[in-house]
Symmetry: C2
Subunit: 195 residues, 2 copies
Amino acid sequence: MKTRPYHHGDLRTALLTRAEQTLRDKGPAALSLRELARDIGVSHAAPSRHFKDKQALLDALALDGFDRFLGALTAARESGDAFADRLGAVARAYVGFATDNAALLELMYSAKHEPGASKELIACSQRLAALATGLVEEGQRRDEVRPGPVEDIMLPVMAAIHGFATLAANGTLPAEEVERGLGATIAFALRGCAA
Amino acid sequence: MKTRPYHHGDLRTALLTRAEQTLRDKGPAALSLRELARDIGVSHAAPSRHFKDKQALLDALALDGFDRFLGALTAARESGDAFADRLGAVARAYVGFATDNAALLELMYSAKHEPGASKELIACSQRLAALATGLVEEGQRRDEVRPGPVEDIMLPVMAAIHGFATLAANGTLPAEEVERGLGATIAFALRGCAA
DNA sequence: ACCTGAACACCGTTCAAGT
DNA sequence: ACCTGAACACCGTTCAAGT
């Protein structure tokens, strides 16, 4: 057997990993620092060496989620050449992440607009806005999206995708209707963008 | 001075009123049954006579919110005759409620998809869907909305309105940009619906 | 019928002390 | 540097007992 490193080794990572697991399995309400510490096998006070309080751990979790989320969206943005393909791929990536990480996404959005939201979290939010803006502008340059102020197009498109993603993720829309609804939402968005 | 009725009088109502106040002022995390009881001046065990547990109080709060929300939307649905006017009024009512009752709306949506969500809460959710469906169908009958399966139009429209409302309510979209963004979102939705 | 007081099993956070 | 143990001030929930 491997000898365990001094004390725990990497408690910080262990806490984050376990916390995300719990978030996924039992929801955000069931996330307790003391239980996390118990599960990992350290004292209840140990986490405070790595996270100054519970919110700091939640913020780290949210930041981690945003990184993966933005990674997925950025990759999707390069799918094909046409605006329609790129928008469709981004929408699918967005909704896919939302349904696969419902609790985490909720945490990401609530952490972001907490009073003392970290600069990194705000930066993530801006990167997301920049991605959407860039996508629409590119579509306009290709004459595949009608002209006019980008915000007036980008905002409704993101609202539709984000709104659909939350409806799909929280179960308002039954799982078996998600695929069709997503197709309809993408088609609807493209209609609204059409030149 | 008025003599106070036996014991408290109407503890149930007092709890709900105070809880909504706290929700509005300090957010859902700050909502504690014991503090509520303290503020009102009863023992910490008293609330249990009226709400079997904390979730029951939250459900009652959510139900109350849904009633007002549906009332506002139902009224808006009768604004003018044209589909464009009605959709615009519903969207404005939706976003208005969301920005005026951000924490409550969040509670309404999370209470609704809690494991043991009450029948009444689910019924509210269905009334909302029925309202949106009726609006679109009416537009189709008037030839102001393109033909096709209602769900394929209703769902994207609701996603856009709901998505915009959450972006506006949680501060992702700065308050001074809400009015313009709302106009753009309504215009975008109408474009997507156009016959 | 409605409420109280005490009790139980949890929390998050802090801080001296250990290794 | 990293963790422990005890302490503090909170929770939600339950239940006998009071009026």
